[in-house]
Symmetry: C2
Subunit: 459 residues, 2 copies
């Protein structure tokens, strides 16, 4: 299939952009995180750019130090439903956590959006990292579930959801007005799941969609996260700061998927990048510097002191270098720090740059510059199998996405690396992913398959 050899593109939509100070930029609309017309314009822009999908991240709690774009924002499932209505072709992917929801409710909502969007929905499965320290407290618990527990629960949660999505066979609804038979009773299936975490009988009160199931997306970077992704995800989203790490991750995940009996072609790996595009190298650098200059001393240092507990920031300013405070050689106790430590050691950033990095916006040299340079970087990562595509996490919105659509996409199209128009109208179609067959269509012995599926999680 020719389309499998194209770069896949996702647009990460979040208010004024990934950069923590982006809302202060002169081009930013400071209340955009809660402006539905703004989000609709971004989705239409991404669709004009022939992107595969727009993507909405999430968290379940905030505190006073949270990124301004997440303090007051739309809930992702309702947001992608609205974005589906404002577009016609692009996929819409929402993040939802397996840690504080019922699988029946989530299965229902995602399949509902999939029908509403006519086969364009995706679910980004997360177990929720507790960045704010408040998550558990919003859900009747004192402590957030630990990492191991969360991933064990997530494995079972995803299986239950997929099972519920197959409550009805594709041709179950005959709707024969003449005979009065609305559906075929033998094509309605209860899941009868009884596992360690969940007991869910079913059936779900909604049938399969045009694309069978919503597309499953994940971003697990830990061992158990990669395991869940390799077993169940169809799109895997990762952030690596150099091509060698990205290639190693890509190879490893494809192998892991194969070990689960899956075709490596059925797993798309997208690298998250934060390009800063300018007419010239200098113009792009200036945008980057401007964003960093908008970080206030107070906000930046308060965040860092909270992040690096035990380190003394009293005499630091945002121009202090990370190594001067020993931040390049702390014990690797925090998952996040572990991920960033190599970059900190290599670049010895100022605290200003470090703050940008830790809050999710970091633009590697190869991704700051004119459109041709960005396109060359993407081409290299794609052709060297460091990625099947990219999640564009623009530091500044809408500028970053508009620049990418208007200036980088046409270059990728001229290079033959990206579609010039959609050749399908479902998210699976864009991604070149197969429609998952109904679980009972996999075997002639339906009874046997049902039993196997439901006993997987008995402990």
């Amino acid at each position: 299939m020719i389309r499998n050899r194209h770069i896949k593109l996702a647009a990460y939509l979040v208010g004024t952009g990934m950069h923590v100070a982006s809302w202060r930029h002169p081009h930013a609309q400071a209340d955009s995180s809660i402006d539905i017309d703004y989000y609709k314009r971004l989705a239409v822009l991404a669709e004009r750019g022939k992107f595969d999908m727009v993507f909405i991240a999430d968290s379940l709690a905030i505190n006073e130090e949270s990124h301004p774009n997440i303090l007051n924002r739309f809930e992702p499932i309702t947001l992608i439903t609205a974005l589906a209505g404002a577009t016609s072709t692009i996929g819409v992917v929402a993040t939802a956590s397996t840690s504080y929801a019922e699988p029946f409710n989530l299965a229902r909502q995602f399949l509902s959006v999939d029908h509403i969007s006519k086969g364009r929905a995706g679910w980004n499965v997360v177990t929720t990292r507790d960045l704010s320290g408040n998550t558990a407290l919003n859900f009747g618990r004192e402590e957030h579930y630990d990492h191991t527990f969360r991933y064990q629960r997530a494995e079972e949660f995803v299986d239950v959801v997929k099972g519920l999505w197959d409550s009805w066979e594709d041709d179950a609804f005959v709707r024969d007005k003449e005979s009065g038979r609305f559906f075929e009773r033998n094509k309605l299936h209860r899941l009868n799941h009884k596992g360690r975490f969940f007991s869910v009988q079913g059936p779900l009160n909604i049938g399969r969609s045009r694309q069978g199931h919503p597309v499953l997306v994940q971003a697990g970077s830990s061992a158990s996260g990669q395991n869940l992704a390799a077993r169940t995800a169809e799109v895997i989203f990762s952030i690596k700061y150099n091509i060698e790490d990205a290639k190693a991750f890509y190879r490893s995940l494809k192998e892991k998927a194969a070990a689960f009996g899956r075709s490596p072609e059925d797993v798309r790996i997208l690298q998250g990048i934060s390009p800063i595009i300018g007419e010239t190298e200098e113009a792009a650098r200036a945008t980057q510097k401007l964003l960093e200059s908008l970080i206030t001393e107070e906000t930046g240092l308060r965040f860092l002191a909270d992040y690096f507990k035990g380190v003394d920031f009293h005499h630091a300013t945002l121009e202090t270098r990370a190594a001067d405070l020993g931040l390049d050689r702390l014990p690797e106790t925090k998952a996040d720090y572990k991920k960033h430590q190599p970059v900190i050691a290599r670049e010895n950033p100022t605290l200003r740059e470090l703050y940008s990095l830790l809050t999710g916006s970091f633009s590697d040299d190869s991704l700051v510059g004119p459109p041709e340079k960005i396109a060359d970087t993407l081409e290299r990562w794609f052709t060297e199998r460091a990625a099947d595509g990219f999640m564009i996490m623009a530091p500044l919105l809408p500028d970053g996405l508009a620049d990418f659509v208007n200036h980088v996409v046409p270059i990728l199209q001229r290079k033959g690396l990206f579609r010039t128009d959609y050749d399908s109208d479902t998210l699976r179609g864009h991604l070149g992913l197969p429609i998952p067959p109904h679980r009972l269509a996999l075997s002639e012995n339906k009874h046997h398959v049902e039993k196997t599926l439901t006993s997987r999680h008995r402990w």
Copy 2:
């Protein structure tokens, strides 16, 4: 306010209509319960009719005997989000249960839809009746929560949700690019709720909407249901089959609301009706008879045998009269039967008619006929204070709603009983309901109020 003296109208949208055999009618689109374009057309039709709101009911489980319209249908919150995008002015109300969800998640989704719709959302609070016998089994429980427990939980659930909706004061977000101050820290409030059922710290990661909070809708008919409604609901939805019962309910609910310190004007009571409209009385009767004739013996008798367990239906047909099986004088063990028993005793319906009644579609004589007759009935109920308005639960869709919009609404408008155009663009505005002040704006002693609110549910 003049608009308070107008009839309020809600359109109950459900696939091919309330009647259990409606999907077999020649005018019915049999797959409409899962066709988003169909639902959008219905919402646009209701908006053309200047209705206050469209309304989506729900259940959390199905079985083989369920109404065909609920076997394969949209989840309500995602559905109203889509309908908000297809309309500009009408309110959109979704049902969601307090029994199997987290208050933080529901609070978030409803406030999100309220922002997406720019102040047109409402939440129909239900505790979920277990009509299918399967509800608990979809949520890891063996038995559905009992009635008393459900309502105690619902009382606290609603208070938590309302508290979360006030996490941010209206002017909390200053977004001052110059100073770098995004919000005022003293206008962000944690709920710190610790009660019998829930511990929820907050804050919610979304601020108040144009209408303050989504509108709260309820339909409790039991004593505890009425209590919850009188204390918290802004729209109360009820089904009474004669004007005297409706007047008694209306008076009683308004008094109960007053006893909670609320203005009776701040509670709108809508009666659910299933009119059948024809050019002539005979044409309307023919539609009613056609719908009833579409019930199959097998389906109808199986449902009734399941509903009236212990009664022998072996020698019955759908033309058998209820009294011949003693169905007018059974012990009142079932809440549903208790509600319908007076109608059964009075009308002695055939089993065919009884089946229509029990599955939610019953059209009183005064509501079957030409548009003038329907309008006269509504006028009488409205002016005699049996209702502030009506929920139109058409037995057959889209016909029933189209007939009402095209033929009954103009008569109500000529009578001066109904708006000729919208004079607001929020659901609260249409209903003449006040914007709820922020809970901390109620008192100068903020600390005191917060403590009172959170200790209400300590047991």
